[in-house]
Amino acid sequence: MQEFALLFRQPSYDYSQISSEEMTALSKKWKDWAGGIAAQGRLVSNGPRLGDAGKVLKAGGVVTDGPFVEIRERLGSFIVVKAESLEEATTLAHGCPALDAQGSVEIRPIM
């Protein structure tokens, strides 16, 4: 078995407009999905959630408040899973709530 990172990207993480019930439902959705992976004994680590604010340092010492406007999807979080192959790791990613938020999951082997 090999380890893979599942990287979640979404166009927006602005939850200021949603109710606390919706927020609870959303976090439950994530937990259920990750719980399903954990139940298969495939979850290696439940990665951190990244905050909304951020800075980017570029060559030449240029600091910006993030390239977020330039790209369509931002990295929100990641988890580490184990699987026999890249294909199997991709299967684990199915049902990820990021997909419901017009986002995507990138699956990368950990070297």
């Binding site: 259920d32 719980g35 954990a38």
Partner: protein
């Protein structure tokens, strides 16, 4: 008693301490048989044990003074002119120190439980053998090796220094958790023994809450978990057959409300700080199970707690319980989809769950899974339970 004497002599003489205690009880039996039980039986026992300890000490002292004069700095001579301290405080401290000494990763966890049963709980070799479904020789050998290991690893009877306390306490709690489970889920048919093991585990856990450095949220969480489980002890054993009564069929009137309240009390104490251990999660799951009524809210909470538990540590049984909670909270369809992915091919509970889920959609599949569970089940009792389900399916 063994703990107090071993504390005096040093852990390397643990077998000697056990001998002194055995002799004391033997003498008690002979003497009480002839003259009847003394008014203060406990005090009598302590007095005799003290005499025997001092006698033995003088004897070895002569040996040491005459034969081994060079070993004056030996740990056991530290006890010079000191007598065993059978005060309440002395007993408490000795037991706590002994708990830390025995629960050392240097010996296998089965041997740790065995030693705990022998030395801290005073169980006989027969009883320990019965509890482990083993025989006396095996247990004796196991305990002998464990004592040897304590000696060679130079495990000391002392409170661990502060910087290692958290890790050492984790190990102690884990052994108490296993000890309790050994009693609660044990395959031995001896119900008194099962209950005794659980009570002893609870007593030792309670002892830890009596000593400030070990009175941690985790300790409280474990104690809460034990209280909740123990509250169902009588309901669980209230059958005429050898089988424990399954949760679904238990008479909740037999649940011990006082223990449930105790559990809630310790659960409240356990939320101090931000430590979230598996004991916290298991205690909260167990507290939900103290409410018999099935509500969507209950199973939703239990499902999330199992999710959290899986994030901390995976085990097949937690995965199965999580899937069962999903079934109760959201229905058989999502649960079946998740269950299909588990692939616990050698686990009869897995096929039992699959059978239960398929019952809603495909009786033939359900039957096939129940049959598979039947083949994999290890005990006759389990096979009987599964057969009942197969029969029920046929008559439906």
């Amino acid at each position: 008693m063994v703990a107090v004497i071993a504390r005096l002599y040093g852990l390397e003489h643990i077998a000697l301490a056990e001998d002194i205690v055995s002799e004391t009880f033997l003498q008690a039996m002979e003497s009480w048989e002839k003259r009847g039980m003394p008014e203060h039986a406990t005090a009598w026992l302590y007095a005799v044990a003290k005499q025997k300890t001092l006698y033995h000490f003088r004897r070895t002292k002569i040996l040491q003074d005459k034969v081994l004069p060079s070993v004056a700095s030996n740990a056991s001579t530290k006890a010079d002119a000191v007598e065993p301290d059978f005060s309440q405080q002395g007993i408490r401290d000795s037991q706590l120190q002994m708990m830390f000494a025995i629960c050392t990763p240097a010996i296998a966890s089965e041997a740790q439980i065995g030693l705990a049963l022998r030395i801290l709980c005073g169980f006989g070799i027969d009883e320990i053998a019965e509890a482990f479904l083993s025989n006396k020789e095996t247990i004796n050998k196991r305990l002998f090796r464990a004592r040897e290991k304590l000696r060679t690893e130079r495990v000391a009877m002392e409170f661990p220094p502060e910087h290692t306390l958290a890790a050492r306490l984790d190990n102690v709690l884990h052994i108490l958790y296993l000890l309790f489970n050994e009693g609660y889920y044990s395959t031995t048919q001896d119900r008194v023994l099962q209950k005794d093991m659980c009570i002893e585990a609870m007593r030792l856990c309670l002892l830890l809450t009596d000593y400030p450095p070990t009175r941690t949220p985790k300790t409280h969480a474990l104690l809460a978990l034990m209280c909740f489980h123990a509250s169902r002890f009588n309901a669980r054993q209230a059958s005429y057959s050898d089988l424990p009564v399954l949760y679904e069929e238990q008479d909740e009137q037999l649940w011990d409300q006082a223990l449930i309240n105790q559990g809630r009390h310790y659960l409240n104490l356990s939320v101090e700080g931000d430590d979230l251990s598996s004991y916290h999660l298991e205690a909260r799951i167990a507290s939900w199970h103290c409410i018999k009524e099935d509500t969507a809210e209950k199973w939703e909470e239990i499902l999330q707690l199992y999710n959290d538990l899986l994030f901390i540590n995976y085990s097949p049984s937690v995965a199965l319980n999580r899937t069962f909670a999903l079934y109760k909270a959201r229905g058989w369809q999502p649960a079946l989809a998740e269950a299909e992915k588990l692939r616990l091919e050698n686990n009869h509970f897995y096929f039992l769950l699959l059978g239960e889920l398929y019952r809603h959609t495909d009786a033939l599949q359900a039957l096939a899974h129940f049959r598979r569970a039947h083949t994999l089940a290890r005990t006759q009792a389990e096979k009987r339970g599964i057969q009942e389900r197969i029969d029920a399916l046929g008559s439906a």
